[in-house]
Symmetry: C2
Subunit: 448 residues, 2 copies
């Protein structure tokens, strides 16, 4: 369906073709970008003028009388997006299961709103990356659900863990999970704890650009993830995303040590206080880091429970301790406090109402587990340096070394889902189970 008659009329009057640079003014907002065609679009509002903005995103601006359209100097050749749903061929290659949770990697523009929405099936994504079929055999491709990653919850983590465990139990060499990037590091931590000792790689893959865009990063991420499964057989859950801005190589980052560190760059995912497990080039080359310990032994284990009454609170100057009381009142069983510096929480003796100490003491009295992390992101908490943290420690709060706040939140809910004894939960929370707590932090991992 092409543009509507009135939009078509305006565009013709300006002799504006797809690819031409256009400026649209509406309600005081100015949009500048290259005109996108509507020819292949069967749905949506044909009154919306579609532009590819300079930041790479696409936008749809509904035309009305108060909209001013101008043609500017310059044009680009627009990449043509052709989804090619292919039949998945059988082969002798290592078999994998491809799960789709939603997210940008499975999305294209929603022409109704001009925003990006989740529309692709796994087969359609595969159609765009036929190379995958030369690296692995996709035994099974399944859209488990179709969620923006900010809407994921522990229920989805459990579902994905279950599907992952089943696929590996059925003999797959690895599992690729297509997932939104926003909370991918929370999911990777959850899967790490829920599916331990997987026989092969469990690889979360996302995309910072939607799959109908020429600048999409999903292809290389999927290709590198497939090489990883076909060649490495690493027994790890992790995230495989771009290592640099360009299409050079991917990082495979331990699921419990990853963090999304940029809102939009392709190399947004970085290991925290850790090296990546390996680097993978799209031609199949893999370079392992010295920190990776191969030859893991042990059976795969499945621990799929999660206590949803856990929370994460950031503390800061003026942060109200009443929020902690509110959560305890509502029956929360574990709360991560993201402190400042080495893990400090306001304990002012100047003004008692500013101190978190009474609320922390009360929570612990009621058998709520209080874990303390640092909002610095890098480095480790240490309760032995300043009086402040010693007070928290004395109250019974648990310091968790260099574990990220996100991983700590997930680990706490996971532990409480499996273990009733609080002392045991506290002990395990401080114990390194899967690499989530570093014994020593290499200086070259800072801002890596």
């Amino acid at each position: 369906m092409p543009y509507s008659k009135k939009v078509d009329f305006i565009l013709r009057k300006l002799s504006a073709k797809p690819g031409d640079r256009i400026r649209v003014r509406k309600n005081g907002v100015v949009y500048e970008g290259f005109l996108l065609p509507r020819e292949d679009v069967d749905f949506g509002d044909s009154d919306c003028i579609l532009l590819k903005l300079d930041n790479g995103y696409n936008v749809g601006i509904k035309y009305s009388e108060n909209v001013v359209v101008e043609k500017l100097e310059g044009s680009v050749e627009l990449g043509v997006f052709k989804p090619l749903p292919t039949k998945i061929p059988p082969s002798e290659l290592p078999s994998i299961t491809l799960l789709s949770a939603g997210g940008t990697i499975t999305s294209r523009i929603d022409y109704y709103t001009g925003a990006v929405a989740m529309l692709f099936s796994p087969e359609e994504v595969l159609g765009v990356v036929p190379e995958l079929n030369e690296i692995v055999r996709i035994r099974n491709a399944e859209r488990v659900f179709n969620l923006s990653s900010e809407d994921m919850t522990y229920r989805e983590w459990i579902k994905l863990a279950e599907k992952t465990y089943n696929a590996l139990s059925e003999g797959d060499s690895g599992v690729i999970i297509m997932h939104g990037t926003d909370t991918m590091h929370y999911t990777s931590a959850a899967l790490s704890f829920m599916v331990q000792n997987p026989p092969g790689p469990v690889v979360l893959v996302g995309s910072q650009r939607s799959s109908d865009r020429g600048s999409r990063d999903s292809d290389m991420n999927l290709i590198c993830a497939s090489h990883l499964i076909a060649k490495s057989r690493l027994r790890e859950v992790g995230i495989c995303m771009h290592g640099e801005m360009g299409d050079t190589y991917c990082l495979f980052i331990r699921g419990v040590k990853a963090r999304k560190m940029h809102t939009s760059r392709r190399d947004a995912f970085r290991p925290i206080n850790d090296l990546p497990l390996c680097k993978i080039w799209p031609d199949g080359k893999i370079v392992y880091t010295s920190q990776y310990v191969p030859n893991k032994s042990g059976e795969m284990c499945f621990y799929p429970y999660f206590e949803p009454k856990v929370a994460l609170l950031k503390t800061y100057p003026g942060s109200p301790p009443s929020v902690l009381n509110h959560l305890v009142d509502r029956g929360y069983r574990g709360i991560v406090l993201e402190g400042t510096g080495l893990g400090h929480i306001p304990t002012s003796t100047l003004r008692k109402e500013d101190s978190w100490l009474p609320a922390v003491e009360r929570a612990i009295e009621e058998d709520v587990i209080i874990a303390i992390t640092s909002q610095c992101i890098y480095g480790s908490t240490n309760p032995y340096v300043y009086r402040n943290a010693r007070l928290m420690l004395a109250a019974g709060a648990v310091y968790v070394g260099d574990m990220t706040s996100e991983t700590c939140y997930v680990k706490l809910g996971w532990l409480l889902g499996h273990i009733d004894n609080s002392e045991e939960v506290k002990r395990l929370l401080q114990t390194n189970l899967l690499g989530e707590i570093s014994n020593r932090i290499r200086p070259d991992t800072y801002l890596l």
Copy 2:
């Protein structure tokens, strides 16, 4: 006062001298480090064995019968700390005021607890860095208060702003503020908004190692801050801390763009989405970056108000929207939501109880300002890409570009302290006033 008789007896039995490597076991905890002397210490518990741990921190372990002490191989020569309180000499150098807010830079070990406590006066700190007197004339040195930075609140920000404004009004070329590092970037943002267009640099300086330690970083930070005031006359509020792990140079980071990114490294403070304003070498060399716009004009302005009913909440998978309702119930007037990715907040339509949308809508109905930032740290929010953020935008939430969550929290409280009209607060929150919102983010500022 030396060690107590019983500790002295144990140490003699082992022929352990200060500097020798010692292992102490107590209640199942093992401490290993170099023995510190007690000769110069006039207070504290002489039953505490003082060790310098390998991580550089000092610890005091109270001796009792269940403590096992061993002497190990190896020893070091301990640096001797001599505080030299000097009279501050008059000179023709540019005059400054030195304010002390507390923090590690003004601290030494508290021999009572073995932890670090705040003990130094500004004069004592100066005594350790006599070089300052060759760079600037310290017209006035004042301990404004003596707080761990996690206990700072808006009240202290106002006090420091007042002192700073007064010092500059009285003709000082600049102001140095010694401050704990944990929340230094919150304070630097507050001072940036409260004291605008200062005639010279307002420099926050801290230390990641206490000032009685040979590895202290305070000296170089203070020296570089002094050079900055003496030579640059930058009209900016910022943070001057180590640029690298070693004692090479310092960064001067815009107060509204700084963040503590490591719990313990000397180069913990980094500019976010920004270059440092300049680099300063301890010999006085200063290199400005291309992003710094010099020759600011305009009178200094003083805006010292702050609305304390503001809060900052991080959202994540499973984050309870009831916390937002709790704050609105308590009369909060502005709340920053630290979303995921481009600024996404859970709005699940699958399970309504997980969606933050009703709580956000209710807050905005009650004239509470909801601002949205990103927990990615780097990059910018963008509400125009995904449906999720468009829903928040439609509800009336305010997206603040690439402003850090910390600066946004401070700016929101500061705006609400001065302006009653919510629409005007929202408009200014999204407007770049002092460099807190980037027009364009340079790629080379990522993980800088």
